[in-house]
Symmetry: C2
Subunit: 446 residues, 2 copies
C-alpha cells in the first residue's frame, strides 16, 4: 500500500505518523514544498516577541526524526503540481528543478492555507510580508534583526494582527493597524470589543478602521501605506487580512470544492474522489451547532483530521464529529475566546437568537487579584438551546470557554447548562461561575 | 404566605432573596443563630493569610441590606430548637435567652454543616479550634493577632487543611499536619498526590500520616498534640477532619435523613414532610453519574438549592439536576481539581472502571512559562462513558475541569469527549489539550 501525502505540517505529519503506527509496513511518503515540517505556526508571534529565541524552536519534530525513527519517506523541497486521479499519480518539481512523480493507492491532500495578499501596488516590496509559514517567521525575524525597525503598519485586525501587536510592542516597535471596513472586531459585540480596543490603545497601538489601503510605496528604507486622506509611514508592513485554502491543486484534478473554496470532505475526510482524502486548513468541516458545512481552519482540527485519514486509510473506520469553532487568543493582558455562533451567525443559520452580555468577576467576592470578565451568550428562543459564547477578561477565559464548547457539542439547552456543577474556589471563580451567571440571565430572555 | 427559613448563609439567604424577588408580598423570615449572614466561608483561609484584611470583608451582603432593601425579616441570634410539623411551628431561643415561636406555611431547613471535633481529651482547650463559621475565622484571626503564634498543628489533611497550610506559611508560621490513617489524599492516585506532597514539603509543611491523636495537653500558652511515639508542640491546634450535616433538628421533628445523616430531599428539595424543604450543606443530592444519593456539601449547590426552594415555594416548579462533585482548591502554587468518580468510587457504583494518568504541559510546545499538568481520567469499560477526572498543575487546572464536568452531566462517552473542539492557543494549551490527550489515551484502555 502506497499512502502519499501532499503537505508536511499538522494534518500531513499527523496522518503520516499515525499511519506508520497503525501499519508499520505501509509505504508512507510526504511531499512538502518548503524545507520545514511539523512546526507551530500559531507560536510565531510569541517567538517573534523575543529576539533571543530561534524561530527553529517552533519545530515540534525534526524531519530527521520522521525519516529515521518513524520510517516516513519525508521529501522536503518537493512541490506537487498535478494530481492525475485516473492514473493515481502525483507529479511535481523539486527545489532544484528536478521533476518527480509518485503513484498512490491512497492520497491525502494537506496543502493548508495561504495568506491573502491585497491586490495593490507595492504588495511585493521587500518590506511587505505576511506571517503564515515558518519561512515567513524566519524572514520577518531576520528583517527585524538586520535593520532598525521602529514602526510597523499591520494591514488587518484579526487574531494574528492582534497577537503581533503585542509581539512588536515587546520589541519597542510602534504599531498601527489599518483595515478597510468600519468597526473593529465585526464578530464581537461592541461591549466586549471595546475592552480589547482600550487595551490596545493603552499599549500605544493606533487603529485606523474604514481606511482602504490603495498602495504601498517605498522611499529608501521606508514604506508609505497610502489610504485616502491618510499616509502611514513604516519600516515594515505586515499583511494579516486573512487566509484562503490551498485548494487549486485539488480543483485542477477535478476534486470538488465546497464552502469558501475549501476542499469538500465528508465526516471520514473523503473528497469526491474515492482514493483521495483532504485534511487540515485546505478542507472544510461540519459545524456541530448548525449541521452546515463551514471552513474554520484551526490547528486542533488539522491534527485530528490527519489522524482520522490515517485510520481510514488503514482500515480502521473513523467518522469525525463536527466542530464548534472554539478559538482563543491573547492580546496583551487580555484573553479573548469564542465558541459556537454569534448572534448574526445564529440568525443566518435559521435560529431565533436571544442574547445576554454580563460583566462578572474572575474570582470570588473579596478575593484579592480579581478582575473583570465579560460573557456574551447566545441561545435559541425556539428550542432553548445554547448556540454560542464569547468572552473577554484578564484571567480564566481561555479554559472557561471549553465548558460551553462541550455543551455545544451536546446540543444542551441553556437551562441544563445553567444547572451544571462547575468548579468553585475563591482564587479561581465566584460561587456562580461567570458562565453560569450568563446562562441564568440568558434564560430570562429565551 | 409565611415562608420561614432556618439558617442565614448560602442556601437560606439565596432562598430568602429569590422568594422576595419572585413574590414581593410574601412574608419571608430567616432565623440565624449566629450574628453573621451571607458570608464566604470558603474565603476564610485566604483572608486569614493576610493580617491586614478584616474578616468582615468576607460578608457578601450585610444583614441591613437584606432587611431594609429586600424586605426580609432577618433575625440573627435566633437559635431554632424544635420544629412541630403538625402545628407548623418553629420554636427556639434568642441569644439573650428570650423564647420565640414562628408559624409557617412553608419551611426551609438550611442549617448547614458543622466541623467534626475529635472525641479526645483537650478538644475544648482555648487554643484548639475549627474553621467553619465566620465566627471561627474571627476567633482564629484574633488569636493570631493577640499573641505570638509560631507553630500550628493541623489535625486532618483535607481541602481546608491544605488551604490553611498556605495561609499560615504566608504569616511565617510553622505548620505540621497529622492524621490517623496512612497515606495522604486517599481519593487521589499516588502519582498526583505526590506532586502535592512535594509542594507541601518544599514549603516546609511537616506531614504525619498514620498517627492517631490521643490527647491535646496545655502547658502555659503551649499545646502538645500527643500521638503514640510522637508529640507535636504548638501554639494553636486547628481541627480540620471533616464536617457533618446539621440534621438533628430535622431528625427530631421526624423528618427523614438519608446518606451520611444528611436530610433526604427529592429533586425539588422537598423533605419527607410536604411543607418542609431542605437545602445547602444539611441536605443530600443525586449524583448525576451514579444516579445514587450522595452528600457532597459545596457552596454552588447550596446557592442553587436555595433558589430552587424559593421557586417551588412560589409556585414555579423546579427540579434540580444532579451534581457531579466538581471541586477545586489551591495549595501554594498548585491547582487541584476533581469531578465525577474516582476509580474506587466507580467500582463501588457498579461500573467497570478503566483509567489513565498522563503528564502533559500547560502551554504549547516551546511556549515560555509552561508547566507540568497531570490528568487522571476514569471511564467505564462496559459503556465507554466518562466517569471522572482529577487534575493537578500550576496553571490551567481550575477551569479546565469544567469541560469534563459538563461531559459528565451529559453522560458522554470518552470517545465523543475526545472529539470535542477545545480552545487552543500557545499561551494557554498544547494543540491537544491535556484533557483530550488523556481521553485519547484512555480510549486504548476501554
Amino acid at each position: 500500500m502506497n499512502f502519499l501525502i501532499i503537505g508536511g505540517d499538522a494534518a500531513g505529519m499527523s496522518a503520516a505518523s499515525r499511519a506508520k503506527r497503525n501499519a508499520p509496513d505501509m509505504n508512507v511518503t510526504v511531499l512538502e514544498k518548503s524545507m520545514d515540517v511539523s512546526y507551530s505556526a500559531c507560536g510565531m508571534p510569541f517567538n517573534i516577541a523575543d529576539p533571543g529565541r530561534e524561530i527553529e524552536d517552533l519545530v515540534v519534530r525534526r524531519a530527521e526524526v520522521f525519516r529515521k525513527k518513524q520510517g516516513i519517506d519525508l521529501l522536503t523541497g518537493h512541490c506537487a503540481d498535478t494530481i492525475d486521479t485516473a492514473a493515481r499519480l502525483v507529479k511535481g518539481i523539486t527545489r532544484d528543478s528536478k521533476p518527480f512523480a509518485f503513484s498512490y493507492d491512497k492520497l491525502l491532500i494537506a496543502t493548508g492555507a495561504s495568506p491573502i495578499m491585497p491586490n495593490i501596488e507595492g504588495n511585493d516590496l521587500p518590506g511587505v510580508m505576511a506571517l503564515k509559514f515558518l519561512d515567513d517567521g524566519r524572514r520577518l525575524k531576520n528583517y527585524l534583526a538586520s535593520r532598525e525597525v521602529k514602526e510597523v503598519v499591520i494591514l488587518g485586525m484579526g487574531y494574528i494582527a492582534l497577537e503581533m501587536c503585542e509581539a512588536l510592542r515587546a520589541r519597542r516597535i510602534e504599531v498601527s493597524m489599518v483595515k478597510p471596513r468600519p468597526g473593529f472586531l465585526p464578530w464581537m459585540d461592541e461591549k466586549l470589543s471595546a475592552v480589547i480596543r482600550q487595551t490596545l490603545e493603552k499599549n500605544g497601538i493606533r487603529m485606523y478602521s474604514g481606511r482602504a489601503v490603495e498602495r504601498i510605496r517605498q522611499a529608501g528604507s521606508r514604506l508609505s501605506v497610502c489610504c485616502p486622506d491618510l499616509i502611514l509611514e513604516a519600516d515594515l508592513v505586515l499583511v494579516s487580512i486573512g487566509v484562503r485554502p490551498n485548494s487549486e491543486l485539488a480543483a485542477d484534478a477535478g476534486i470538488a470544492l465546497g464552502v469558501k473554496k475549501a476542499i469538500r470532505v465528508d465526516r471520514g475526510m473523503r473528497t469526491s474522489d474515492p482514493h483521495v482524502y483532504a485534511a487540515g486548513d485546505c478542507a472544510d468541516s461540519f459545524h456541530a451547532v448548525t449541521g452546515e458545512k463551514v471552513w474554520i481552519p484551526l490547528a486542533l482540527r488539522a491534527n485530528r483530521g490527519g489522524w482520522a485519514v490515517a485510520d481510514n486509510v488503514c482500515g480502521k473506520p473513523v467518522e469525525l464529529e463536527g466542530i464548534v469553532g472554539t478559538a482563543v487568543f491573547k492580546v496583551f493582558d487580555l484573553q479573548v475566546a469564542r465558541t459556537g455562533l454569534t448572534v448574526a451567525e445564529a440568525g443566518q443559520a435559521g435560529f431565533s437568537p436571544a442574547e445576554v452580555i454580563i460583566q462578572a468577576r474572575s474570582r470570588a467576592h473579596a478575593h484579592p487579584g480579581s478582575s473583570d470578565i465579560w460573557v456574551h451568550m447566545v441561545g435559541d428562543k425556539k428550542t432553548g438551546k445554547l448556540l454560542g459564547v464569547q468572552m473577554v477578561g484578564q484571567e480564566g477565559v481561555a479554559h472557561r470557554i471549553n465548558a460551553a464548547a462541550v455543551a455545544l457539542h451536546q446540543k444542551m439547552t441553556v437551562d441544563r447548562f445553567a444547572q451544571t456543577d462547575l468548579a468553585y474556589s475563591p482564587p479561581f471563580s465566584p460561587v456562580w461561575d461567570p458562565m453560569l451567571t450568563a446562562a441564568n440571565q440568558l434564560l430570562k430572555n429565551l
